[in-house]
Symmetry: C2
Subunit: 241 residues, 2 copies
């Protein structure tokens, strides 16, 4: 059995009960080292196989092989395993290689949702998730989505907004959105949500300081109705109050 578990943003409190139960039932836990570290208190003395960044295929392959040998393997991902996580890769490999492994997916609280609750209620209306990493996606595809999202007035959540080697991506995305996002549009940033050294702040589209954003950050850009009041970022659902 191979269980792919979304552990939520980082705190044990934000894990689902199913995720906790699945972790406790596992023989072996496999994951990126930051995530295996986060679940360490729940995992106890179980075997942990941790790998570094950009080792996704090897990591999933190892997990599949162990599961095929009869182990109860848990693959841990931050947030939800089905959103920029390992769920898809596991299913692709199992299916392509015709592996005899039962895969179970355990959904989790994804970063946008967790960060929104820390900022107020910015996702109360239609929104998009866009990853600004072009490791696996051509930059032109990302550009097109950023522009379309801004033009159609979606709230936009940027995953992987800025990292080493991709310092300029977020600024480029903002430049692409500028024709449709007025300078006063609220923007919320959460760094390391629900983890040690969590930080969050509100700013505006025009005053955005890109240098404060890193790869552990999530950036939420409001729509035309989003406002900031009492230190909270709120996108109205549309009720007449």
């Amino acid at each position: 059995m191979l269980t792919v578990i979304g552990i939520g943003p980082g705190s044990e409190a934000m894990m689902t009960q199913e995720a906790v139960a699945a972790l406790k039932a596992a023989d072996i836990v496999v994951g990126y080292k930051t995530y295996t570290h986060l679940v360490k208190p729940l995992v106890g003395d179980k075997e942990i196989i941790k790998t570094g960044m950009c080792k996704e295929i090897e990591r999933c392959q190892t997990a599949i092989e162990l599961a095929e040998q009869g182990k109860n393997v848990a693959v841990v991902c931050s947030g939800d395993a089905g959103i920029y996580g390992m769920a898809g890769l596991i299913l692709e490999l199992v299916s392509q290689q015709k592996r005899n492994v039962e895969v179970r997916l355990v959904a989790g609280v994804t970063a946008s949702t967790a960060c929104a609750a820390l900022l107020g209620a910015p996702l109360m209306h239609d929104f998009c998730h866009i990853s600004l990493s072009d490791l696996l996606t051509p930059w032109e595809v990302i550009e097109k989505r950023v522009q379309a999202a801004a033009e159609a007035d979606f709230v936009v959540c940027f995953y992987n907004p800025r990292s080493r080697g991709r310092e300029a991506h977020l600024a480029r995305a903002f430049a692409l959105m500028a024709p449709w996002k007025p300078a006063e549009t609220p923007v919320g940033v959460v760094k390391a949500a629900e983890r040690k050294h969590e930080e969050k702040w509100l700013t505006t589209f025009g005053a955005m300081d890109f240098s404060r954003v890193d790869m552990r950050s999530l950036v939420i850009v409001g729509n035309q109705s989003t406002y900031i009041r009492d230190g909270l970022m709120i996108t109205p659902r549309g009720y007449k109050l």
Copy 2:
């Protein structure tokens, strides 16, 4: 204290540990009757205030008043409270009316994430949430977003896809997307996810049977790379396999 709790799709297993703890700590639970019913086993003998559909403002107002009187009030929403839920309305009312109430938001697993895990891994690449209810949003705004999402090749999750009085909305949305979504594009539907009578099925954009979809359903339309294999809907993240 007023805690706005996303209870996830419906099963207790999919609630976060924080949500369970917050529910147990509450004096009074307020919510739409379907949702208060879902959490009944956790709530025990506590006072429950349940209201019908379209009573959102009254429901939130009641919760705010009880909290201001010193009660520990939990407002329950399905999925995540910050996604088409009550978090925004509560914050708007508290702030507008300058209420002396501390509001705490507890994020939950939203429908798209939960349904994706039931269908495979359809949300592994950039995606949008669009609600097809025009009760609170002009239909032209919805149309614009549907077209933009299709044109930029987002995976699209439709919330409130079809309900009494809005039987044609989903078909209209599909017609708007048709220029960019080939007939063979995979579509996944989950009805009553994680609840009694849960149903799910995979189909294609061209073969979609709208009549099977109701207001408890979530519809996920794939992007250009999404495929169906071994009964699973998978959107590749882009790894070279």
